[in-house]
């Protein structure tokens, strides 16, 4: 996997400290480090990306090599320390791994970290494959130390989650990077005067890096096929899209290609060489028209007559992921070749499959309990980012808003200030609670807001594949530590009404929500029940077809994927059922029995 290659590359570079916050598609980098590290590497899941970035900065101040990992949304959280770190500079190598997500496949935005690199002035390497990512991470450490700057490594989903055969170094060949230790120096204290002086140096350095990158083998041009040289057309590509271009070239004929692996600072000289003699260039890239803008700028700067085509000219899609077929068709059109057309075929209508909460997921029971408790009341249910975003699906329909991590708390407070008669709820997962809900709770208590905080505590970070966090009492170094108690944290902040309840006990859960929701001020319900993806339930539930009256209540109310309806009766798929017993608790005739959830 690309992410595993990045982790092994960092270990081969002798990385001393690795930290980050889970987020698809970046998560497996840190997990692999934790699995394969030697004793010279410290690793942790930090509580959020901002904290992780600050740790990585501290490590780099001390002369250590540090890697910090996150997805593109996490970079927004970490941007404050990163923007400043660029002005301060680093001593030890600092690589910031940010995985972008064209599509988006599992993110809220299609933001482009290449654009962020230009904005923050931090150099960026953009791998096209797992193999490139492996060598680039090692190169990134060298660059970072040589030029005293953090360096981005930006894979996209298909690179991070693609598998490839890559030959890697053995642990005996790993570099050993001794840590010098922190040395007191005024250079570590940011002041306007220092920022002014360093800003000038940064601009000079990045100008110099443009030349370094123009000469680097990371960026290159692929020559055209002599048969096609009369065409005077070329393609500029970066990231995973480069692989689509190279596959299409095999079919369509070899155009001249510019591969951009260092979008920032842009390899200007190389681009000028590539453009000279070309009439038209098509830019093939995902997310922002980044290469396209650079080439348009270069043409203006050097008075070149080359026409630059891409997203901004409508020759490539402005949003979403590229595909092999899409890129092949765009290239064929660009070369004035017949575009392969799709034969019309009429398959039977296919089912739509929106993702759903797993069978037996305790979040389903939690949402259902709140829904039942608040039936007929004027409410708002502010959701958050995690598996539980899926609570929006029918029939639960329990997510009225979802913005970014922790945002539901702020939204619920504002709605309450404006509409006193509305019962406001904010749902957060346990990992999100620690990552980004705490300032929102303090704010609510201080500013006299009234809302119910619902913590869905399944004792893991489920969406990204079950990472430990402060509430689980396990660390990535393998230590068992004191758990940070959500109840104590809330009470410490001044939330007096805090009740913990098992959501799988439906009647009690409903009663608890009713009681808490009617109290004034900020109050909290903690639904605690483990994620079903971690353990197989001891026993599955089954419907007694003799008793089932076919009312469909079980199906209509909770939408468990293990339940379906056949020949007038409900049936439970034993391969999917996790024995949560929620369906059994709501069947009016007691037709369902036998389930037992994992304790």
């Amino acid at each position: 996997m690309g992410n595993e290659a990045i982790a092994l590359g960092a270990l081969a570079a002798g990385v001393n400290l690795v930290c980050g916050y889970p987020g698809t598609p970046s998560t497996e980098v840190l997990e692999t480090v934790a699995r394969r590290r030697g004793e010279n590497t410290y690793v942790e899941w930090s509580v959020n990306e901002k904290v992780a970035m600050e740790l990585a900065g501290g490590a780099a101040y001390s002369g250590a090599r540090a890697l910090v990992t996150m997805k593109q949304m996490g970079l927004n959280v970490a941007s404050d320390p990163l923007m400043c770190l660029e002005y301060i500079g680093v001593k030890g190598g600092l690589v910031v791994l940010v995985a972008d997500d064209p599509g988006p496949i599992s993110s809220q935005t299609e933001q482009d970290t290449r654009t962020f690199a230009a904005f923050s002035k931090v150099p960026l390497l953009d791998p096209s494959s797992a193999e490139e990512a492996y060598s680039m991470v090692q190169e990134a450490f060298e660059l970072s130390e040589k030029y005293g700057t953090p360096v981005f490594l930006r894979p996209t989903t298909r690179v991070s989650h693609g598998y490839a055969s890559v030959s890697v170094k053995d642990p005996e060949e790993y570099a050993v990077h001794p840590v010098e230790g922190f040395v007191k120096d005024s250079r570590w204290v940011i002041f306007p005067k220092l920022s002014f002086a360093n800003h000038r140096k940064i601009e000079e350095r990045n100008a110099a890096l443009q030349d370094v990158f123009s000469a680097s083998p990371l960026n290159r041009t692929e020559p055209e096929d002599p048969l096609l040289s009369g065409l005077r057309r070329g393609v500029a590509a970066g990231g995973f899209s480069y692989t689509y271009v190279m596959e299409a070239r095999r079919k369509l004929g070899a155009l001249r290609v510019l591969k951009v692996s260092t979008p920032f600072p842009f390899p200007e000289k190389l681009a000028v060489e590539f453009l000279s003699g070309l009439d038209e260039v098509l830019c093939v890239e995902e997310l922002d028209p980044y290469i396209e803008r650079e080439l348009v700028y270069i043409c203006g700067k050097y008075g070149l007559k080359t026409r630059i085509l891409g997203k901004m000219t409508g020759h490539m899609p402005r949003s979403g992921e590229n595909s092999r077929d899409g890129v092949t068709a765009a290239l064929a059109a660009f070369m004035h070749l017949p575009v392969p057309h799709e034969e019309a075929d009429n398959p039977p209508p296919l089912p739509v499959r929106p993702p759903v909460l797993c069978a037996g997921c305790p979040h389903r029971a939690s949402f259902y309990a709140v829904k039942q408790a608040m039936k007929g009341r004027k409410t708002i249910f502010c959701g958050d980012i995690g598996c539980y975003t899926l609570g929006n699906a029918m029939p639960l329909d329990m997510v009225d808003t979802c913005l970014c991590m922790g945002a539901g708390l702020g939204i619920a407070q504002a709605v309450n200030h404006l509409e006193n008669d509305r019962s406001c709820f904010a749902f957060v997962g346990d990992s999100t609670f620690f990552a980004s809900a705490l300032p929102g709770v303090v704010n609510a208590v201080y500013n006299q807001a009234e809302f119910t905080l619902v913590v869905l505590d399944n004792s893991t970070t489920a969406m990204t594949g079950h990472q430990p966090h402060p509430g689980t009492g396990r660390t990535m170094m393998g230590d068992v530590v004191e758990k940070v108690s959500i109840e104590s944290v809330l009470r410490g902040i001044g939330v007096t009404a805090v009740e913990t309840v098992d959501p799988l006990n439906h009647a009690l859960a409903v009663e608890t929500v009713r009681k808490i929701a009617d109290l004034p001020g900020v109050k909290a319900v903690i639904f605690r029940s483990p994620c079903v993806a971690l353990f197989r339930a001891p026993a599955q539930a089954a419907v007694d077809p003799g008793k089932c009256i076919g009312c469909k209540k079980c199906i209509r109310e909770i939408g468990c994927p293990a339940l379906s309806f056949r020949d007038g009766k409900a049936v439970i798929d034993p391969a999917q059922c996790n024995g949560c017993t929620l369906c059994a608790q709501l069947c009016p005739v007691g037709a369902i029995s036998g389930g037992e959830p994992h304790a």
Binding site: P25, H161, D325, D345, C560
Partner: protein, 190 residues
């Protein structure tokens, strides 16, 4: 030898593991492998696929339309969805058992597996339908459809791998207490 293989199904059916077993088996034979798969939100009951390519001089793990030598469909509807990727002479292995989306159970908009299988039969000349109910009953576990289909794919020759290659991959990637069950599934023939 270059081979392009698509595995498709519904999140939770074990397509990812099946794809990793193929990759691992091919890599053990020093065949370069590229693959890409759905990870994240869609794994929770959404449509999922893995693209897997083996051989020299490949740039992209993604498979173009009409290029797949083999599609392993874990679910009839999902196999239909991926059909445009199958090469004209390509082979398809498909499980007979539909997985209804929750939305279908809610609004009675279910579809019939027979309709999907008929459609596939009319379009794919080299089609193998695996009777999932019978197979799972025979190996006595509801959880190993992926290995049953993998075994069927291996026997039809489209993987370019031998049975022992897959068995070794199982030994490498799956905990020992499940080996016997997984071998039974791999070797299952109706």
């Amino acid at each position: 030898m270059r081979k392009s293989i698509i595995l498709c199904g519904v999140g939770g059916q074990g397509t990812v593991l099946a794809s990793r077993l193929i990759s691992s088996a091919a890599m053990a034979r020093r065949i370069p492998v590229l693959s890409a798969e759905t990870i994240g939100m869609a794994q929770r009951g959404g449509s999922v696929f893995s693209h897997l390519r083996m051989g020299e001089d490949l740039y992209s793990p993604m498979i173009a339309r009409g290029e797949a030598d083999l599609i392993i469909g874990f679910e009839p509807g999902e196999a239909v969805r991926q059909l445009p990727f199958l090469a004209p002479e390509g082979q398809m292995i498909v499980s007979s058992r539909p997985v209804m989306p929750v939305t279908a159970a809610l609004s009675d908009t279910g579809y019939r597996a027979e309709e999907m299988l008929d459609y596939l039969a009319s379009r794919v000349s080299r089609l193998t339908v695996v009777d999932a109910e019978a197979a799972l009953a025979a190996v006595r576990s509801p959880k190993v459809l992926n290995l049953i289909l993998l075994g069927a794919a291996q026997r039809c020759g489209a993987l370019g791998l031998e049975a022992k290659d897959l068995k070794e991959a199982v030994r490498r990637l799956i905990p020992e207490k499940f080996h016997a069950l997984n071998f039974r599934a791999l070797e299952y023939t109706p």
